[in-house]
């Protein structure tokens, strides 16, 4: 039993799950890098490594909330949102990180659409939070599936992960929303510029 780390380029798909195009190979199931687009894993007969169902369901639920948020004020914004939800669902079904990320991006696109159309701030916040959580849960479902498979009991870890992300997201957006409410009235463009500058500087440092 040897586990090695694999590198999956987010752009390049790891074949997984139901496409049935998997190569059966002798020996251990650990492969090295998954950089090649045509990488076929050496997982053998039997072990179902499709995404964990619990996290996948939570992901869809969060995606639904995102659509709800962006459709709250601007009904037409629900259309791209639903498209994102479909992409997300397809990604979860096929175990594709790329599709799940794509679904999240389209969900965010729905939020932008709603924002430009003048949607209420609370709805937009819900839309963005839902989209990020949908991606987070979806990616976790895929990784959990690849590492442990469907047959394992992974519920508790998934629940913990989901709850932690939800807690962080809710508290974070609560604080942001609180500040927004406190500053209701004018639109201090100065504040915006300062905050933006802060984000650019900090994000640049933190993501190194």
């Amino acid at each position: 039993m040897s586990g090695t780390s694999a590198v999956a380029n987010d752009g390049d798909e790891r074949t997984n799950g139901h496409d049935g195009d998997r190569k059966l190979a002798a020996g251990e199931g650990a492969t090295g890098s998954a950089d090649d687009a045509d990488d076929t894993e050496t997982h053998q007969r039997g072990v179902d490594r499709s995404p964990a169902t619990f996290s996948a369901s939570l992901s869809l639920l969060a995606g639904l909330f995102s659509v709800l948020g962006s459709g709250l004020g601007v009904l037409t914004a629900a259309a791209p949102g639903f498209a994102g939800l479909l992409v997300l669902a397809a990604g979860l079904y096929r175990g594709s990180r790329r599709a799940v990320t794509g679904g999240g991006v389209v969900l965010l696109g729905g939020v932008v659409f709603a924002g430009v159309g003048g949607g209420p701030p609370a709805g937009l916040l819900l839309g963005a939070l839902g989209a990020l959580l949908a991606w987070d849960y979806g990616e976790n479902a895929i990784t959990m599936g690849e590492q442990l498979g469907r047959a394992a009991d992974t519920r508790r870890a998934e629940l913990f992960h989901a709850a932690a992300s939800l807690g962080v997201g809710v508290v974070g957006s609560g604080v942001v929303y609180g500040i927004y409410l406190g500053a209701s009235g004018g639109q201090p463009v100065t504040a915006l510029v300062f905050l933006l500058l802060a984000v650019v500087l900090l994000a640049g440092v933190l993501s190194e």
Binding site: L129, A151, T154, E158, F160, V199, S207
Partner: protein, 493 residues
């Protein structure tokens, strides 16, 4: 899904999981404590205050030694989260000059900060594995219950476990994988079922993947249980009678029937009664007729000496399907059943293997001998259900075998006959004057051209052996008894 589920709920934070461990095991662990104290990610609570004083009821420190970190990864999961904030804010300014999008975008920074702010988990774990039966018979279901305890002081938010099931065992029910979150001192338990197969199987270390809450840092480690977990599954040598090897052994006894009178079955002669002759051999008919005491002599049957030779070279580890029972396992099964059938028939039976690991059990009889053979068949490395590592020196092994073989020994060779080597060995032993029978489990499949060719070549090999006067039992999917009976019919016919 039969896993018991993670029960963090049981508020046991002491050593109940491992109670009953012997003092010697503790001593060993204490040594390990000194050597590898720095390996531990956890905190050394109570390690200094002499674990010798509280014997066996609290062993948190030394349990934790068994964790080895192999790799720590940045998963880069949340890379790009600030892009959400920047793009939303930029669009908010450039396109609509409203606060809504700016607000929504802030979520990206929240998650980026969450990802950045979470450190690397430092797992300290104790693993205990329990088997429902450590010495099952072949085919018995054994339930493996695994308990993992968080011995550290921090909560492990995402703990993914893959148990090291021995390579020759397959999991029948449940899964040897589990994921949970564990607070300090809490335990999680899961279980799975493995059907036992012959051999000595030792569990490998458990793979542990520990992630922080946002999943950005991942620790890949292995943990061993305090004591090695071993399953020993011996073939059942007591059940005799279902293998009609007698068809084979009458030939043997027929061949070595002696001209010496004595106890036996077939009438040989009569002679005058001598003091001490057993009463059941007194010729009572003559006594009635003439009044003289006479003793019947029967043709004495000397027991045959049979050596069972198992082909256990790496080449013999083949099977019609990748995970199926391989030819060596089938050979050993057949050897075990032949052993008990022959022993039950009064023959002297020995055991040997052709392979890198040497195995030789000189022919013998009796219950002790049977027990010895059972032991060897169960757990001798030469007959392991997984292929050997060592190098095999064919001519050396054969020369050795010839020296060991009693000159009158007959041989039953168990081999899948997938290459010419064993066929040539059988013919050479036959040429040296041993009576050789080959029992050959068929490992070929007929799917691809290559598989069909292998089957063709094996058939040719068998027919070549038969033409050379050797007896071959070609054992396919049918029960061994049927195959032997079929082959015996061919010999007598």
């Amino acid at each position: 899904m039969s896993t018991v589920g993670s029960e963090e709920g049981t508020d046991v934070d002491d050593g109940t999981a491992t109670e009953g461990r012997s003092a010697t095991a503790r001593d060993g662990s204490d040594d390990a404590d000194d050597r590898e104290g720095s390996m531990r990610g956890g905190v050394q609570e109570g390690a200094g205050d002499g674990p010798d004083e509280h014997d066996g009821d609290d062993e948190s420190p030394e349990e934790a030694e068994r964790l080895t970190v192999r790799d720590v990864l940045d998963t880069d999961r949340w890379v790009g989260a600030p892009a959400v904030t920047l793009l939303f804010a930029g669009l908010a300014i450039v396109v609509d000059r409203q606060a809504g999008l700016l607000l929504a975008g802030a979520v990206g920074v929240v998650f980026a900060a969450y990802a950045y702010g979470s450190g690397t988990p430092a797992p300290t774990l104790a693993v205990e594995r329990r088997l429902s039966d450590e010495t099952p018979g072949p085919g018995d279901d054994v339930r493996v219950t695994v308990t993992v305890r968080n011995e550290g002081e921090a909560t492990l938010p995402d703990l993914r476990l893959v148990d090291g099931v021995p390579p020759a065992l397959a999991v029948g029910e449940g899964s040897p994988r589990h994921a949970t979150a564990l607070r300090p001192g809490k335990r999680a338990t899961f279980s799975y079922v493995v059907p036992a197969v012959r051999g000595r199987h030792e569990w490998e270390s458990m793979q542990v993947i520990v992630r922080n809450a946002p999943g950005t840092r991942e620790v890949d480690a292995t943990v061993d249980s305090a004591e090695p977990t071993t399953l020993r599954c011996s073939p059942d040598l007591d059940a005799t009678g279902d293998l009609p090897l007698r068809g084979l052994t009458t030939q043997y006894t027929g061949r070595i029937a002696t001209d010496v009178g004595g106890p036996g079955l077939e009438f040989h002669s009569t002679r005058d009664y001598r003091h001490g002759d057993p009463l059941n051999r007194v010729d009572w008919n003559r006594m009635a007729r003439t009044g003289e005491l006479a003793t019947l002599d029967f043709r004495e049957e000397r027991a045959a000496t049979v050596v069972l030779l198992v082909d256990a070279r790496e080449e013999a580890y083949v099977a019609p399907e990748p995970g199926a029972e391989n030819a060596v396992e089938r050979s050993v099964e057949a050897a075990g059943r032949s052993f008990s059938a022959l022993l039950g028939g009064g023959d002297r039976v020995g055991l040997a293997a052709l392979g890198p690991d040497e195995l030789w059990l000189a022919p013998g009889a009796g219950n002790d001998h049977r027990a010895r053979a059972r032991d060897l068949l169960a757990s001798h490395p030469a007959l392991s259900p997984t292929p050997p590592d060592g190098r095999f020196f064919p001519s050396l092994r054969l020369r050795r075998l010839r020296r060991q073989l009693p000159s009158d020994a007959q041989l039953i060779v168990f081999s899948p006959l997938v290459d010419d080597y064993v066929a040539s060995v059988a013919r050479r032993l036959d040429a040296y004057g041993h009576l050789v029978t080959v029992v050959s489990p068929d490992p070929t499949a007929g799917g691809t051209p290559g598989e069909l060719l292998a089957r063709i070549e094996r058939r040719s090999r068998i027919s070549r052996l038969r033409r050379a006067g050797l007896r071959v039992v070609d054992w396919g999917d049918e029960p061994l008894a049927t195959a032997v009976a079929g082959a015996a019919g061919r010999w007598s016919g």
